[in-house]
Symmetry: C2
Subunit: 113 residues, 2 copies
Amino acid sequence: MSLDPKIAARLKRNSDGLVCAVAQQRGTGEVLMVAWMNDEALDLTLTTRKGTYFSRSRQKLWVKGETSGHIQHVHEVRLDCDGDTVLLIVEQQGAACHTGDKTCFDADVLLTD
Amino acid sequence: MSLDPKIAARLKRNSDGLVCAVAQQRGTGEVLMVAWMNDEALDLTLTTRKGTYFSRSRQKLWVKGETSGHIQHVHEVRLDCDGDTVLLIVEQQGAACHTGDKTCFDADVLLTD
């Protein structure tokens, strides 16, 4: 399998061949994490419905939760207007953040009112 | 003015000196858009509370809505666990997307259930 050519043609990848991916919790709307996808990661996300990314530090595919069990069941995927970012609507099992926090944005608040 | 050095020290910028920025609508939780910030854009966002980004195509600062009137009043800013992405909770005036759509993710649905 490889990514649907009609979708692949709409992607605007960065110089590393990646698009940005935002994962959002279904129902609550919490933004859980932001990561990156290559074409294979996006194809696997669409076909397996498990959130799958490309790890820039490890330079390999990464099925979210494959070691932690904190998988993401993917309900929706949307591509943005300029083709460089996808939004995933997911059911997150357990914590999304490797720190154990629910989201990657819980710990460091720069501004609030 | 420049970005608070304590915040600047926590940022993990990409090779272009930028961090990713996700703007989310206050209240509804809609993910409106994803863009990029350099240190100055983040500083201006925090101090003026107007969503301010760095345009990669134009290579300059860009106050969201400065021409369209579709400004973003910023209520919260959160930095993620690895310091390369900020989440903004905003009140978006008018459409967030340059196409006139409410969000940049309205038009192209790759998967739904």
